[in-house]
């Protein structure tokens, strides 16, 4: 544990960013001490913390230089929308919030956005749209910040057609723990000079450097978008349709799998109405394209596949209002379940194994006599399993259930986290997917970037 931050350091920080942007009172930084991880498993924040809000890369650099000299831990935070405690400052130190660095420019010619790390996902979506362009992924909460989206390699529902954050980042400006500023990549689509540090930094969860700016690939705005809701009587019928859709040549933005109980619960939670009450399992499929004819032709192909798997109907939402309502209800299954939830998992398996994984999750639930509601991004085999409080007798039991689900995912050729990341609550499970050698390499990389282990310090990495 580091000692309390010396007053002289606080004065230096005030000198860098101005008095107003150094916050020492605990009550004014409460919201910076947690993220969206369910309460029961979220790590506890440390006591002696100060919050600093720089306005430029130079200021970030000066802050890190001081912290590095004095060996003070630094916790970069974004919109605090993560689900694995990654942004929780667990040791006495400095929290850096880049919220004041929130400018976004669009380079229309090259279809790129140049965004500061503190701009939000909502800002980026809006700026892209105003420029007649499109930022396809929608990794949940629009309050998430660019820096956090990159540091966690955020995924979300619309990854099938265009990929996750990793596929969009073409350039980065970062500040190393030593205060050095690195400018990587740029507005270029091909770059083949040595090891790809951009890809290494994406998903590094604030352990290697502080991201200050990013060049983000945008896409032309699709002219027409629809959302299909397809109910089935059984999970098997729904999930069997997914690989067939992906093989057909139609590439949807998203294929989401939900079950009727959870989606109705989410609608109730929002005081909304879910438009389709038929069936037990439903697929939500989002498609876009350049014209109504093109997209409806793709819908007909999907309809043919789903009907051959006994779909009960194929419902079509076309108005922005109806489509937004469907996406909003789907995105809020987590918030609806959260009050009674202990953990949300995001295991990922090869898409063709999703049904097997879900059946096994059901079997684990029955064996322990607990409720494990599950839904997910069926197109990329990413399943969200919720461990609910109901029937849980101890945290030991939670650990066992979680362990069995992880084991099953790994046995099916998958991994323990597809999009939420490791954060601070999955560290103990790393050895299930990474070999000793692999972890040793990761530790080596961390030492090269951060020799004094000041940035989001955590163990065993």
């Amino acid at each position: 544990m580091s000692p309390k931050i010396p007053n002289a350091v606080i004065d230096d920080l005030r000198g860098i960013v101005g008095d107003k942007w150094v916050i020492v009172q605990r009550e004014l930084m409460e919201s910076y001490l947690k993220d969206e991880t369910p309460d029961i498993i979220r790590p506890k924040p440390a006591e002696d913390l100060i919050l600093v809000k720089p306005s430029s890369t130079e200021e970030v650099s000066l802050i890190l230089k001081i912290a590095n000299e004095k060996r003070i831990p630094v916790f970069p935070v974004g919109g605090r929308t993560g689900l694995v405690g990654g942004a929780v400052p667990t040791e006495p130190g400095i929290i850096i919030s880049l919220e004041r660095m929130n400018k976004i420019e669009v380079d229309l010619e090259n279809m790129m956005a140049i965004a500061e790390a503190g701009a939000t996902l909502g800002d980026l979506i809006k700026v892209a749209e105003n420029a007649g362009l499109f930022f396809p992924p929608h990794p949940g909460d629009e309050g998430a910040q660019i820096g956090g989206l990159i540091a966690t390699n955020a995924g979300g529902a619309r990854a099938i057609k265009y990929g996750v954050m990793r596929n969009y980042i073409k350039g980065l400006e970062v500040v190393l723990p030593t205060g050095d500023v690195l400018s990587l990549g740029g507005r270029i689509l091909k770059n083949n000079v040595g090891y790809d540090l951009i890809q290494l930094i994406i998903g590094s969860e604030g352990t290697l450097c502080v991201i200050t700016k990013a060049v983000i690939k945008l896409f032309p705005k699709s002219k027409y978008m629809v959302t299909l809701v397809v109910p089935f009587n059984t999970r098997s019928e729904a999930l069997r349709s997914v690989p067939a859709i992906l093989r057909s040549g139609v590439i949807p933005l998203a294929i989401e799998y939900v079950q009727i109980n959870e989606i109705l619960e989410a609608a109730r939670h929002l005081n909304e109405k879910w438009p389709v009450h038929k069936g037990f399992a439903q697929l939500i499929i989002i498609l876009d394209g350049m014209s109504q004819e093109e997209v409806l032709a793709a819908c007909e192909e999907i309809s043919r596949i789903c009907e051959s798997n006994n779909a009960l109907d194929v419902m079509l939402a076309e108005t922005p209002e109806e489509q937004n309502r469907i996406l909003k209800i789907r995105s809020n299954i987590y918030t609806a379940l959260k009050p009674n939830m202990i953990d949300i998992l995001d295991v990922t398996v090869p898409p063709s194994c999703l049904e097997k994984l879900m059946d096994e999750v059901d079997a684990i639930g029955s064996r322990y006599g607990v409720y494990l509601p599950a839904y997910g991004h069926a197109g990329d085999g990413n399943l969200h399993v919720h461990i609910m409080k109901e029937g849980i007798k101890s945290m030991e039991m939670v650990k066992k259930i979680k362990g069995e689900i992880y084991e099953m995912a790994v046995r099916l050729g998958g991994t323990i986290t597809g999009e939420h990341g490791i954060g601070k609550i999955r560290l103990g499970d790393l050895s299930m997917v990474l070999s000793e050698k692999h972890i040793e390499i990761l530790r080596g990389i961390k030492r090269v970037f951060d020799p004094n282990n000041i940035l989001n310090p955590r163990h065993p990495l």
Binding site: L228, V229, P275, V314, L316, P320
Partner: protein, 298 residues
Amino acid sequence: MYNMRKRSEESCICGEGILNVMPGYIYGNCGRMQMNIIVLMKQVPEIEKVRFDPEKGRLDRSSAGATTNPFDLNALEAAVQIKEKVGGIVTAISMGPMKAEEMLRDALARGADKAILLSDERFAGADTLATAYTLAAAIRKLGAFDLVICGEKTVDGDTAQVGPEVAEFLNIPHAAYVEEILNVSENNIVVKARMERSHYIMRLTLPALITVTKDVNTPRLPTLRDKIRAMRAPITIWRYEDLEEVADPRYFGFDGSPTRVIKVYTPSAEKRLGKMISGSPEEVAREIVHVLIKNKIL
């Protein structure tokens, strides 16, 4: 008064033709009551995206895509639910450019049986009065009807005047801001309507007009099959000449509109004021009370 509930030449939707006409309502050969329901709809710009042209004082409709006025989907859903309950025919009518055909095709996919678009340059530039006059003329031309349903307002104009004005032109009773349809029988409809902070339960003798809020129902999604079927369905287009026989064309379009826009301005957004108050709890409380009194809140 013009007999608005005269016998319709339409067949019953069961396809067995019309057997008998009682005063005021129609029975099909199947023995079911058949209601003729008309839904008035409008295609509006996507309101979250559309820009306002301050020079011309109107919406720049080219700045956003077009969609169905959301309240009109509730009106259509209400009509389709009544049709499903008591039988009948739902006719969607809209006035607008030819592009509005796509909205009417969507209405057909969502359960309307027929769609009519009033489209003519000479209808353009209409205010609420001229719009209502033209829509009422179209309803008159259609002949028999029992019920007209509109959304409470359109999101581009926001006046909520057209529905009630249509009722006045047709000389039929109306109820605005209907939140619930309590009962529909052969001669009347009972609705719960919102007025300010109160609710009124009203029984309207048919034919009547109601405007509905978003609370009245949740519009269903069309099936893909219905959507594709509707893309090929015919839309009846009525032009200026088609309505001349039932109305006085001097009241159509811009020339028939008494409304003149003198000035349009955007109200300036009030900025929230923030103030940090520090001190002991007593001092802070005293300062808060002082600020609230000074700003005439207390």
